[in-house]
Structure formats: C-alpha cells, structure tokens
Subunit: 431 residues, 2 copies
Amino acid sequence: MGELEKTEAANLREETVAGNGLIHRRALLRTALFSAGIAAASAGTARADDSVGADAPEWMKTPGKPFSAYGTPSHWQEKVQRIFTIAPGRAGTGVSRTPLHLLEGTITPAGLHFERHHNGVPDIDPGKHELYIHGMVKRPLAFSLDALMRYPMETQIRFIECSGNSGIFSQPQAAQVTAGELNGLLSCSEWTGVKLFTLLADAGITKDAKWVIAEGADAAAMSRSIPLEKCMDDAMIALYQNGEAIRPEQGFPMRLLLPGFEGNMNVKWLRRLNVTDAPVDARDETSHYTELMPGGKARQFMFAQGAKSAILKPSFGMSMKGPGLYEISGLAWSGAGRVSKVEVSADGGKSWGAAALTGPVLPKALTRFRMAWNWKGQPSTLMSRATDETGVTQPTRAAWIAEYAPGQGYHFNGIQSWDIAADGTVKNVYA
Amino acid sequence: MGELEKTEAANLREETVAGNGLIHRRALLRTALFSAGIAAASAGTARADDSVGADAPEWMKTPGKPFSAYGTPSHWQEKVQRIFTIAPGRAGTGVSRTPLHLLEGTITPAGLHFERHHNGVPDIDPGKHELYIHGMVKRPLAFSLDALMRYPMETQIRFIECSGNSGIFSQPQAAQVTAGELNGLLSCSEWTGVKLFTLLADAGITKDAKWVIAEGADAAAMSRSIPLEKCMDDAMIALYQNGEAIRPEQGFPMRLLLPGFEGNMNVKWLRRLNVTDAPVDARDETSHYTELMPGGKARQFMFAQGAKSAILKPSFGMSMKGPGLYEISGLAWSGAGRVSKVEVSADGGKSWGAAALTGPVLPKALTRFRMAWNWKGQPSTLMSRATDETGVTQPTRAAWIAEYAPGQGYHFNGIQSWDIAADGTVKNVYA
C-alpha cells in the first residue's frame, strides 16, 4: 500500500458520516477512493501503452448504420421496457410502470413514462379535438389546438405519480420485485403548455365558483373534481412533453397538469373543464383514490403527493460485486415543493448521513440523490428518507401503516429498506 | 368595448418596451390581453352551457388502444422528423437536423437529437466495448461498461451544437428554409455519466501532459485533440441521455461530453483517450472544423460555441393569422455559460426589448425565451440577440461575416432576422 492509498484510507475513516460505512458526500468527487475500491480491482487493466487499442473491434471495420428519421434505443437495450401487470397489447383499465431501476438522471424518456388507462388510449384527431371551459363562467369557451397554440406558454419540469404508487408496501409481506415494480407509477418530464389561469381568466369565473370538473376524451370519460384554487395556481394545459407533442399514452393532444397532485387528477386527453360550486363525486374519486381509515370511513380528496424517496442502486435484482466503494443512488420528490434533504442509512435507521442532491433541485420534480458507501461485506440495511421544503419528512412504514385501515394502499410514502446480504444479494424488507 | 378592455388597451400602450408593438414580458401573464386578441376573435366560441360537449367524439365510444412496452409519438405527428440533407437510409458521412421549429421547451427528445456521422452508426456490443486511457499516464487503464457503472455519476442538462450549425448564413443569399434547417444541428439533453476528471485522476496524469486525443469506435475512427484543462474541468463520459442509455446515434454505449465545446469534439462511441503533450492534427481538426480567415490562413482549435439565439415562432413556413397579440418564442444558448439576457426587436434592430427567460437558466444549456407582441399587421423585421454571463452579445451578421474569408461557415453566431409581410408570411432576410 503506497503513501497515497494510506492517506486515502485514513481520510475514509475520518469522513464517515453514519454507521456501516456511509461516507461524506464529498467522497463522490474524490477519485482515489473509488479507484482503490474499483478500478484496480475489477476494472482497470494495465496494458503496454503502444499496444492499447491496436485491435480495432469489428464495428470499426465496416461502415455503420444509416441516418434515421426518428431514433430508437439500441437493440442491446430491448429489455428496458415499461413493466406490465396485465399483458401488453390488452386494452382497458390498468397500468404499466417506468423501470426506474434501469434509468438514471431525473427525466423519464417519454417512451417509458408510466401508463394508467381506464379504457385504453384514444386515437384523437388533433384537428377535431376541442377543449371546453363552461359552467360558472361569464363566457363559455371552446379552444381548438390551434387556438391554444396562440397563447403564451410556460415550461416546467414536474413529476407525475399515481396515488396508488408503492401501494404494495401496504401488504403484510415485503414483495421481492424490482424498484420499478415497487415505485414505477412515477415519471418526470419537461412539460410545456398554457397556464390554466390564463384560460379561466378569459372565460371569467363567477363569484361562487369553487371547483372545476375535468373530463378526459377517453372511452371512460375519466373525470375528477379539482379545487378552483389549484387551477388558478400552477395548473397547466400541457401540449408538449420533453420537447415534442405530448405522447398518446400521456394525453395527446393535451392533458391537465396539476403539479404535485396525484396522477389521476392530471386528466389526460382533456376535453371539458366544468366550473362548479361543488365536487361531482365522479367514479374515480369515490370508488377509487380514497383512503380507507381505521374506523371504516374513507377519506376523500387527499390531493398532494407526500415527501418520498427510493433507493434504486442497489436494489432488488442487482447484487454487490464484493466489498469496496459504491455509489448509492435514488430519487426523491414531494408534491409540496422542493426536496430540501435526503438522508441515507446503512444500519437500518440507527444513523443517517446526508446524501448529495443533483441540482438544480426543482419544486415538484424528481431529484436524484447520491451517497458514497464503503461496504466491507457485512450484512446491512439501506434506507433513504426525504424531507421537503415545508419541513415534512417521510414517516417510517410502521407509522404510515398505523394511520390507515389494513390494506389501504393509496399515497404510500413510508421509508423503504433494502437488506444487503454478505453475499451481495439485495432483498426488500420491512425494517 | 367594456371597462376591462379599455383598461387593458391603455395598459398595452403603456407597456410597450420597443418599436413595432413589443410589450413588456409581464404581458405574457396578463390573460385579458391575449383574450382580446385571440380567444374572442378566433378561438373562443360561446355555447349554451347545458349542451357543452353533449356530442361525444367518436374516440369516446369505443375502448382505446392497449398498453405498449415502449411508446412512440402519435401517428398524427409523423411529420415531426429529423431533417435530412441526404436521403434517410444512406450510411456514411453527413448530418440530420433537429426540427427545432416543431418543438417546444428546451429538452430535445432523443429520437430527434441531431446526427453527425463520419461513417455511419456502429452497432457496438456493450459487453465487448472498452474505454482505454493511456499515453502520458502513470497507470494505463481499460474500463468495461460495468466498471464505469461502479463510479459516482453526475447529471447535467447541456446542449450540443455542431460547429457547422447555421453555416448557411455565410452564404450571400438568405435561404428560405425552416428554422430547423437553419439551426437544427443543435440539441439539448439531460446527460448522466462519470466525470472524466475521476478517471484521469485514477490513471494519474504525468507532469508534461497537455492534450487528450479522443477516438471513437466508429468506422471513421473519428478523432479530436482536446485540451487537458477541459478534460479536468466539466467533461463527462456520458452513459445516459434523458434518463435512458445513450442512443446509438449519440454514441451508445458512451460518448465524451464537453459542455459548450463544438459538437464534433464530443466524441461518440468513445474508445480511446490518449494523453499527450501535443495535439494530433487529426483529419477532423485540419480538413474540417477550422476557420478560414480573410488573409487565407485557417484558424484552428476554436472550441467554445458562441452566444447565440434564434426565433422559432414565428419562423419560415408559418404565417401570422391576422393582427393581434402573439407570443414570439425561441432558444438562446452559449458555450461560455449561462444566457443572461435575450433581447428581441420587431423593427429590424432599431429598438430592443428584454424577453422573458424560462427558468431554471442553466449553464451551457438551451434557454427558452418568450416575448409578447402586439402585431397590428404592419410589415416588420423580427430579430433576437443573446448575451451570456461573460458579457458577450451576439454580433450582427455583417460584423460576423467581416471577420472571415468569404464562405467560411463554422461557428456562425450572428443575429438572425425574419421579415413579416403584411399578409403574415415569414421570410428569412439579412437585415
């Protein structure tokens, strides 16, 4: 062991921020630490310099593939797909999930944005689609797509999360499935469109109006009641997703975007906004998306998604490749605003260290966190907990479970845990 | 005209910030202005309230399409494609452009990211690909993709622009083509990968090293000389693009990302980084990508892309739909850092008003700007000019042209102009 390595080993001990080997986030920038653990052991292979790369690989010996009008992922990535609970190709009601554990960064590719359909994806002719604003307004209005395109636009990076996301954690046994299966009713896009405030102000809201009933142009006529206050705040009629026209599965040609509110309220294929003085008790706010409480009553209209986080690397289906330095990484988010802090524990919640957050940290957007971990091969329990700018921190799973009737699975935001065994396997546990 | 409209009309006069009807950016948030100009005249159609939406469109009457494993744009958007100069399906050297005028926001969908290939797109087996770091280093290293995946990662939203982008403006006649054809060798993505500093520090740079020769694993073995200083600053080995594995056309399984530097240096399919004390005079830094100066000499190694902007709405191929309020919108960027200001002129550069910038304004990333315009139907010349945080402002086209030999088209960043005729047609002009 040379002088440099000795110094680094000493630094490593000094920089421990929590039990079981969690290191200060500045270690993520300190190369020699990772080098000692990784490059020399498993990655770096020294070669005589003049022979480096002398053998050109086969794909350098013949011209490559041609230009394409609209690109697709590499065929080597064909397993990176949305995750289905019912077989693909079947219409109707159901979901598909974003494979969060196979992705990085914070933007979800549009092709992998989660789906939630109540009667399939309508094929809407954008030239015939109209958005109506009516009810308690001075001037009922109809907007073609072309008319909406004339309005000033805004652009926001925001997550959408189904309120049923991670509901599987309400079950008594921890499911041994991937992080995408656990948490993949969650995606994040750059949305561009017209501020709903602009359109409602044009229509002229009357004095007693309090709610807006949003209806989609799908075969379920999916409808939700939305507080007028939210519609006048940061709601958007989204027309673009990650730069291009919004995708069919996310509401082409337009959807309602209610930043931070449960996914179902962000009505896709948006067709009508009926301004009223009371909620409508639509099917999807009575038979679904309500919280069953211990007393047997259901709580309705819990809109904002809670502060939440999930470790994606490592996670179920991956395995640790022997002792050494690792980056733990995952996503954090809150429907109430910005994530202000993410803490990680490697000892089942006994001690916590602050993770590095990838900037810019945006309100109601996914935030990537990263933590350096010196894993010495001991069995460990990894956890993450997010705190948002309103000061709210994720509860433990037990505390969350205690609030509701057994099996109630909407709005789960409890702390999640991965057990790392001595052999490197990763298991979902209720710690 | 009611009281509200009278007040708004008065406000409109007061809020003029530049000639020919440019209005203060706060007007973008003032709905009644746009209502007066748009919704009542062309978009809003009042209806008896109880009949609104009574006729459900055909796509609500039958179940929609099923779930899909990897989504694609709506078939109604099939014309939103990359723009080719040579026919698609042909391999070899050439480009395809991002259709900037058909997009919104700042992120480029990966499927529409511009392409620049020197001998086609190699089909690289990621399990067999290696990245070598060699030359003036203490420990030559080889990294498999798995090995790189073990390193700490970072995520950055950054643009890539070909240094030949907008070169057509060096021609004597203004081309009547779309904004995408003019400026579409420009795209912006969220990139995630390993900081190059980390790997070079692992390898151990020797004292006299000054350059790094990057080579791609394509059939052109595309190579560029890069100052070591840049490699130790904000360079990244990018593995992910907009959340998923980097696309084949952008370098799968890995590319070099040199934020703000000309596109060609961001070597795709990255295979070798040879640390040296001198540049290598590679084909693509001698026969191409040099600037021919008036005296007949060529200037080499002009790396950073200049401060630049382009109005995309309105632009060639669109037309104004009669007098009224419009949002002018476009993109601004600079290889030197953040865009600090974008100004718009509607009178051919006689007067300028500050546009609104869509936040967060990130360094070396595309920034969307928006400006309110009260077009009264008069012939007008629209221009935009960006200033970056280093204080550099785009030159006029004439000033830019005067710097170089005739026809030199690399690194064009002069001010661009659209003529709006009284009938609403839009034309590219040298104003």
